[in-house]
Amino acid sequence: MSLSSVTTEVVDPIPGAEAPHLPQQPDLVQLLTPEGERVEHPEYSLSISDDELRGLYRDLVLVRRWDVEATALQRQGELGIWASLLGQEAAQIGAGRALQPDDMAFPTYREHGVAWTRGVDPLDVISLFRGVDNGGWDPVATHFNLYTVVIGAQTLHATGYAMGVQRDGAETAVLAFLGDGATSQGEVNESMIWAASFSAPVVFFCQNNQYAISVPLERQSRVPLYQRAAGFGFPGVRVDGNDVLAVLAVTRAALAAAREGQGPTFIEAFTYRMGAHTTSDDPTRYRLASELEEWKLRDPIARLKVHLSRSGIADHHFFDSVERAADELATRIRSGTVEMPDPPATAMFDSVYAEQTPHLAQQRAAFVAYHESFEGGER
């Protein structure tokens, strides 16, 4: 690819980019404006190669395609439910790409983008939403914990894991994901108290996507979420969650501080859930279409595309190749999903305990005998 010939080429400008934007928030760390302009921040700089920039773009496009495909698969009855990350790609890719290999991430149930950065096979994540598994991947090998569905419970696991890191004397950081709704949970507040008291190497990464299903942020907090950190005694920072570069820079800095023994940081990634909470949700009942339109102007992928294009870092050939990769991924996800076998029925008995109990072994045997009592498998 010849880059010199495309330095002035601008592809796909953001639709409606001429419209006025919401007022800028002075406390929002931003390195890439919604219009795709690269800006500097006094505290957070980012040195990043062109290859890495193209890699981030590729990540963003592929996880969005994965997400779109999964939503379609749910609509076609292949998945029980899907929790879409639409609009939150930059927050998740930026945070995930800030992790070192030995760092450990503790997701909620929406961090498909982070899963992607940890090398988790999308089909393993899909297996949870298809209902063939309650987990789906190896959390030890991937350094990516299984999804936790009870809101906020994983922030304590992350903090405890970080306490283990301290006892091991390891230079490892832990990244705990949570949403804006989770900040109201007692356990999340406990986790921040613990992290502060023990100066644990954990970073709390809160994707404030403005809604806890239907309930807006105003019901969770009277103050901006990042300001809560001060009450716990550690730094809080608000970053533009739709700016993958700013998220990467801020998260890298927080993880580095944690590894160096400076304790926790709270990051509020200010973003927006452009889709429904899950495929079972209907956001038209609780938010205005105009709000979604405003946030479309801040789309995380469009702004990076403009930047890559304007700065000559990428051209049509690159964007086309990413689209082809996305198509291939979607095809693989689709065929892998519809061909995914159900687990054997006895699987539910087999991992309840590390050391099986006689009682459960008896139940399992009775279950098998019951099914075998039907000739030819008929019930």
Partner: protein, 326 residues
């Protein structure tokens, strides 16, 4: 052979010490367990000898204790969590039931949860509300947990070590009103398995089942009726989940009568499950329905009424009489 006379409390203390010596990954966590040594002094002296990283005075937050224990276990540690009193386990209930109990299954065995949750349980100490409860049924009802209850210093000394070495999460119930009961403990002996019930007194007329603090009460009842020529077989259940009922079935087939005794309310308590299983398994041997003696279906009453609430020798014997009357 090294035999010492120990209280249940001291036996637990020594058992914890030995477990910590045996495995550097054992970490004790709880409220006031460090400098103070716990409100019952079960961890007395351990922080001094093992340091603040292994005997952790935690913030005052039970969900925090269990939730961080999950993370420590994921990192390869073996947390032993002290819940100060039975009634304070409920803030941690979410973590215990939705996380501790399910993570092994969720991960299809890739993540073990070798967590011990020590809970001083039961009444009889004249305490205020929330300090006298018997929450075992909540945990025995939850797949993924194991539940044991000790009744004597020997089981306390060995049981806590066996529980800590075990790969699954265990709710370890300590009979708080019996902490000061003494017995000779041979610290070189080969202990009985953790998940096994034990016949603690042989007899022919009625099989009486108990665990934790009620074992002593039932043994006293057996002693009392022996003078009248009535013979009770007493079984200390020891493990509440999984239940080890083969010795119970064997006993009931001989006696034809069974009484289950616990402090917890009878409705949907352990006695209900045991009665069902004994009935299913020993139906043709039974001379009487399985009877339950337990707390009433009320909140644990104020201390001045707890003697009326808790099963005692007379209520056990009343049930024995009723079983014999069929």
């Amino acid at each position: 052979m090294s035999t010492e006379t120990l209280t249940i409390g001291k036996a637990l203390n020594l058992g914890l010490r030995r477990a910590m010596e045996d495995d550097a990954k054992v970490v004790l966590m709880g409220e006031d367990i460090g400098r103070l040594g716990g409100v019952f002094r079960i961890t007395d002296g351990l922080q001094k000898d093992f340091g603040e990283d292994r005997v952790v005075d935690t913030p005052l937050a039970e969900a925090g204790i269990l939730g961080t224990a999950v993370g420590l276990a994921m990192r390869g540690y073996r947390p032993v969590c002290e819940i100060q009193f039975d009634g304070f386990v409920f803030p941690a209930y979410n973590q215990i039931v939705t996380q501790v109990a399910k993570i092994h299954a969720r991960s299809r065995g890739k993540l073990a949860m070798p967590i011990v949750i020590r809970i001083p349980f039961g009444g009889g100490i004249g305490a205020v509300e929330h300090h006298s409860e018997s929450p075992e049924a909540y945990f025995a009802h939850t797949a993924g947990l194991k539940v044991v209850a000790v009744s004597n210093p020997v089981d306390a000394y060995w049981g806590i070590q066996q529980a800590i070495a075990h790969p699954d999460p265990i709710v370890f119930l300590e009979p708080k009103r019996r902490y000061w009961e003494k017995a000779a403990v041979d610290t070189d002996a080969t202990p009985d398995p953790l998940f096994a019930s034990r016949v603690v007194r042989g007899g022919d007329d009625v099989t009486v089942l108990a665990y934790g603090p009620m074992v002593k009460t039932v043994l006293q009842a057996a002693e009392a009726v022996a003078e009248e020529g009535r013979s009770l077989e007493v079984i200390d259940l020891r493990t509440l989940s999984p239940l080890d009922l083969d010795p119970v079935f064997e006993s009931v087939r001989r006696t034809g009568r069974c009484v289950v005794v616990h402090e917890a309310p009878v409705t949907l308590g352990l006695g209900a499950e045991i009665a069902a299983r004994v009935t299913e398994t020993c139906f043709y041997s039974l001379e009487a329905p399985v009877l339950r003696v337990g707390g009433y279906d009320t909140p644990y009453p104020p201390a001045k009424l707890e003697e009326e609430y808790l099963p005692d020798l007379d209520r056990v014997l009343d049930a024995v009489d009723r079983a014999m009357g069929f």
